[in-house]
Symmetry: D2
Subunit: 443 residues, 4 copies
Amino acid sequence: MNKGLKIATIGGGSSYTPELIEGFIKRYDELPVSEIWLVDIEEGQEKLNIVGNLAKRMIAKAGLPIDIHLTLDRAAALKDADFVTTQFRVGLLDARAKDERIPLKYGVLGQETNGPGGLFKGLRTIPVILDICKDMEELCPDAWLINFTNPAGMVTEAVLRYANIDKVVGLCNVPIGMEMAVAELLEVDHSRIRIDFAGLNHMVYGLDVYLDGVSVKDQVIKMVTALDDNSFVKNIHGFGWEPEFLKAINVILCPYHNYYYKSREMFEKVKQEAEAEGTRAEVVQKLEKELFELYKDPNLDIKPLQLEKRGGAYYSDAAVRLISSIYNDKRDIQPVNTRNNGAIASIPDESAVEISCVITKDGPKPIAVGDLPVPVRGLVQQIKSFERVAAEAAVTGDRNLAVLALTINPLVASDTLAKQIVDDMLEAHKKYLPQFFGNFITK
Amino acid sequence: MNKGLKIATIGGGSSYTPELIEGFIKRYDELPVSEIWLVDIEEGQEKLNIVGNLAKRMIAKAGLPIDIHLTLDRAAALKDADFVTTQFRVGLLDARAKDERIPLKYGVLGQETNGPGGLFKGLRTIPVILDICKDMEELCPDAWLINFTNPAGMVTEAVLRYANIDKVVGLCNVPIGMEMAVAELLEVDHSRIRIDFAGLNHMVYGLDVYLDGVSVKDQVIKMVTALDDNSFVKNIHGFGWEPEFLKAINVILCPYHNYYYKSREMFEKVKQEAEAEGTRAEVVQKLEKELFELYKDPNLDIKPLQLEKRGGAYYSDAAVRLISSIYNDKRDIQPVNTRNNGAIASIPDESAVEISCVITKDGPKPIAVGDLPVPVRGLVQQIKSFERVAAEAAVTGDRNLAVLALTINPLVASDTLAKQIVDDMLEAHKKYLPQFFGNFITK
Amino acid sequence: MNKGLKIATIGGGSSYTPELIEGFIKRYDELPVSEIWLVDIEEGQEKLNIVGNLAKRMIAKAGLPIDIHLTLDRAAALKDADFVTTQFRVGLLDARAKDERIPLKYGVLGQETNGPGGLFKGLRTIPVILDICKDMEELCPDAWLINFTNPAGMVTEAVLRYANIDKVVGLCNVPIGMEMAVAELLEVDHSRIRIDFAGLNHMVYGLDVYLDGVSVKDQVIKMVTALDDNSFVKNIHGFGWEPEFLKAINVILCPYHNYYYKSREMFEKVKQEAEAEGTRAEVVQKLEKELFELYKDPNLDIKPLQLEKRGGAYYSDAAVRLISSIYNDKRDIQPVNTRNNGAIASIPDESAVEISCVITKDGPKPIAVGDLPVPVRGLVQQIKSFERVAAEAAVTGDRNLAVLALTINPLVASDTLAKQIVDDMLEAHKKYLPQFFGNFITK
Amino acid sequence: MNKGLKIATIGGGSSYTPELIEGFIKRYDELPVSEIWLVDIEEGQEKLNIVGNLAKRMIAKAGLPIDIHLTLDRAAALKDADFVTTQFRVGLLDARAKDERIPLKYGVLGQETNGPGGLFKGLRTIPVILDICKDMEELCPDAWLINFTNPAGMVTEAVLRYANIDKVVGLCNVPIGMEMAVAELLEVDHSRIRIDFAGLNHMVYGLDVYLDGVSVKDQVIKMVTALDDNSFVKNIHGFGWEPEFLKAINVILCPYHNYYYKSREMFEKVKQEAEAEGTRAEVVQKLEKELFELYKDPNLDIKPLQLEKRGGAYYSDAAVRLISSIYNDKRDIQPVNTRNNGAIASIPDESAVEISCVITKDGPKPIAVGDLPVPVRGLVQQIKSFERVAAEAAVTGDRNLAVLALTINPLVASDTLAKQIVDDMLEAHKKYLPQFFGNFITK
Ligand SMILES: [Mn+2]
Ligand SMILES: [Mn+2]
Ligand SMILES: [Mn+2]
Ligand SMILES: [Mn+2]
């Protein structure tokens, strides 16, 4: 190969960037990146500079021939890129804080992905992503879009249905976190664990789990039911599943299932935390401030440990592992958000699912699971309906569809509440939702 | 024909029986019934006698050659029957009162069909129905089982999956009530209205609605959104759907949808009513007492008007209309609960659905609707998952499955609540749930 | 109603027209037709006049207030029509003669619907039908297109996929003929017989058959296997199915199945007939000549008996019955070609199938049959693949697709033969296949 | 690991055995086999001894600690086996010769897998395989059954539907041969080529083909259409596909497609070869004789080169590669016959398909392909229907089903021919088809 790979990272000023840079450094021997373009918008310029300079110091320390570009010019970044990663946040953490606060007023969880918060994050994000896709058609038609921006399921659905590019993968660290948690539980190296994932983003189930290729699902479920906190992943602390429930459902649950199978308890917990220490966005805002102070230190040339508190564990690992498997046609198994293509029965072929795939240079190829287990079908369909109505609302700017999306969302389940929340949040996010106020992003 | 039809009605002592008798009288010219066997259990003997004697007086007044038999001997009633109708209630209204009261303690609606109340009604009813089916295999293998006993969807599912008889139809008055409500709204005779129904029992949607064969869905939705109380059917008073929601979902809703699309409001309403006037079962108990006092009157020889307050409007019409269409191979369209057979995409062929069917002598033939509209798929799948897990719990007596059924039920959505409610209700209904306490009904 | 119905019949100069006129006369009391517009092209003007004048005499004799219009102006005929029927034949019987003759040279049956003959009839017909559909969008957007023109399955598929009108039904007399044949076999009136039809045009199966609503399939199959000629319908004389085969396949076959389940015998028979008396088209050409001589007789004012030899029994009955059921929202069951909509598993929702439907004012609603019986799935899929590739060839003018369509057709099954036949027939029909020679019909 | 693997090979006296032994020797470092049990029946004892002794010499020369056991005691061989491979041939090559000769009399190709020959090979083989499965349930419930015996698709279907073991894989060398052929065509090492396979055994399609992970399908199809003999695989010489056909079908074909897309040409060729040099079975019989003469040579201690003429190239490679990937949980992609599980739309989940799978210790996991391309759906369904009816005929001994299986087979397509062939072949194979003559294998 004569030339290295060009990576464009939209939302490059994010506090996560050092994580990503570390990932590229670690896998440089298998992934010959020559340029990383960190793009951001004007409001993010200061953060972009801070984090970008840290990135440069990290690369320098690693002694690698990778050029870091900091830019506000998205087109320049996209031009001939090989991979485009997205980690931007329309409206920044302020918007997320509203996503969380407003629904609480109505006795409803905000939930940044599959709840009202997720709906509004999707409404803000999808037009921007579709705009990026249009640019990519022209500037880098062969590039892969690796989307980290939440709600990753809804965003991937929107790209599959409303954009003209096929090469898109949605990525989340929840599945890898579940494998890590099982490895920890069994006290084995995580490379020996494999889970058959199927479902949707933040609504993914482990249909089976293997140690060295041999199913250990029964053992894992037995061990988990005996634990105090058996929610598999630390990120969202559950309260322990009832053993009766876990044995009967007989699959590995993801932490986000707490919102649906423990909905009242989660509401109380989130509400108390919001009162005591602020919502998650508010907590993260403080953390970020501290992180950026650290990042400014001209002597810092590695990813600081404090970044881990921010969440997002394994993100860089998941991302760079995926990119490398595509680039190298590794054909290994990874859980990603991709076109269903018949893998899960009763989900349309063209819809996004989160599922174990073989990762090839031609993209992820989902492993067929057939019918989902009877008890999980309903919730998966419900969230898929929510994602589809929400994505349609995002592209049409139809307020009725936004009300419908929330009404059919299991966290709301009331048309009157849905309407009140939609009206309140439309007003709060007005600046970032031009399509609901008569204006559409066009090129 | 040399011989008239034999009808066996299980739960013949029900206060509804005069309704049914009136139906047979009205349609005698097309449905030559010669014997009606009203069967009940020992505890119901007194009521059976009261209502049975009224039935006899009604037939006498009509001057028809129909023999009414009152019996506790189910086998004698089933022997060579042409149609078996079921309207029994295991544990009577006392049990229903518990189904409603206990969940309220946990902040959860009882809901006698698709909620915790429905689960426990199903757990009590399904073993009895399957026992009746076993008898029918032997005593009247060619008879049709017309099931009115709720939860009619779950019961039909159980018969389709766990019994050896094919000839079963589940029946509900909700769809006919929806057609009546539309007729009233448009101020036309109800025979001119037809709705394309699809979904599940008490979770049925009108995909389109026609006046004289021409779609008037847009007009109906428009009119309904302008009403104060736009819930279509009076039985369960709603609060009016939000116009945004109704326009976006763009289907005709059934009154039970209030529990899922207006869940908080319904909970408050039911709770207040329970406090003010008692739960629905408690109200009905009073009504029934009064009804039976009326029924005792030896001069009464028609269905008393007061029965209408009891609910169940159109039941007899729906039931006898169905029986007549089967008997006469009428090939008219009626909404019933039957084997899906591919009519609704993503529901297994062998599952029960509530859907518009052509009614033939060979049974109901569902009209294909293909994919359900995107926004309604989730809830339908969720209730179907609930019904299937519940039916399996009923036949296995597996407490874990009962906990699972409630956890995935949208009215509960918490494994801890589910477990508490299950334990409380198992204890309360112990007498009628032998399968959960080590005893199975066997023959 | 203030105004009667307007019927537009494309190909009005056809010898079948008196059949259709008779149908309208017979059902005038339920179908108040006020105008019938018989349209034809210039080459057909003489025949149009002859048959049109007969039509006028027939109406006059019946004493009905129906105006017959004879015209070459298609737009005038379509303007505000309520029903458009199509019975035209691009290239007339000369073209059909070539469809039959040319394949025989290659040792292949022409078969005017699902064989090479059908492919080329489709290639000639589909562009014209799509052109009519474009006119209808504008001139009579609420009209129903009732298509009789063969290959009716392929043509309906093409309209469903490539036209902008939804209101299309394809019609064939084979299913009604099968019901008539069963009625004759059982010596009962045909109104007492009903068959559950499912499959494709000229590839339709009777999944069950009922006498007065009770299945008599076993009896019918038993009787048929005992007959000498057990092919159900006289039109295409079979040779009798082998009893082993018929018992095992356990469905009612249509006469066209002889081409696929008795392929060699049919080839020999057709070849011998072609040598002895000419191909079917050549025989029909003679018949038609005689018919038109009869039609000229100014004293003839009824449908002459000789028309029956021409084939097409029950066509008028099928057509006018269908139109009346749509107009009157009769909701009776009739077998037609319509959008599958999930009724037959494994056929796309949007593909055309021939299936028992409830006929409503809103069109035919197919009755769900779920999975086809295992042994018939393959052939149905094969013909559907053939129809779809052929329809795509017709709209694109892609010769490779025409070769593919014939190669996958079971009557050809050879790419080399397919290519030779395609080349030979493209040349022969050049005049009517402009799309394969660089010219597309456009408006 | 304390103990090596035990392999049981049913039909161990086959001339292919040295191929298999060579495979185990080559991969010994990743597959620690300690015992290979070659089992045969009494009639095969002499061949078993000859080939078994060669196997022993091969192992000795390789200096590996693998014990070769020769036995007629199947139970002893199966006891605690880790992998069971089947390569037996009920009735030996004499039966195959009849499978080929008898249909030719009727103008029909025998075709040893998906034609009349395949039907009868299946009828002879399936009861034996199901008997082996019953033994395995008891003697080695954790073992994998790796079936090479043809018709591999029908046999795998039968095991999936009628046996109680789940761990079965059907294997064929056609897909690997297609990859090899493409590698040769592109002049690259075969490890760089990957094909997305989907379909059925001997009816498999390459939906896409990759060089180093990048699709080269267009290039390959272009190159192939330019060749004289473009049938991809040498084993069955085709005549070159017509470029029009190949471009339009736009998939990679397998050599067996010649029977369906070039049916007349293949019939003529096979008939001429049969007349000139004998049928394939007769040619192979001679080859085998020569091979066994070679095998007897006590100095021979490697697989003789002449074995390659016998066909079956890559068999050992495919087999041992598969066993190693299961044993080592390699998760690489291999095409095998396995349970569909939703991977190919419109094929039942529980049916066998030949498809690219990820091979894990838990077995093959098929990669979802969704809908097959339109033009190939029909033939795949037709062969699947044939396989299913044939498998049912094999287990029931129902002659009507055998006639039905052949009638719906595209190579026969005539019920009369089907009946004649079935009767003739039932008589010829009477000894090996006890189930059709009133006797069933039972234990
Ligand atoms: Mn995530
Ligand atoms: Mn009801
Ligand atoms: Mn026809
Ligand atoms: Mn093979």
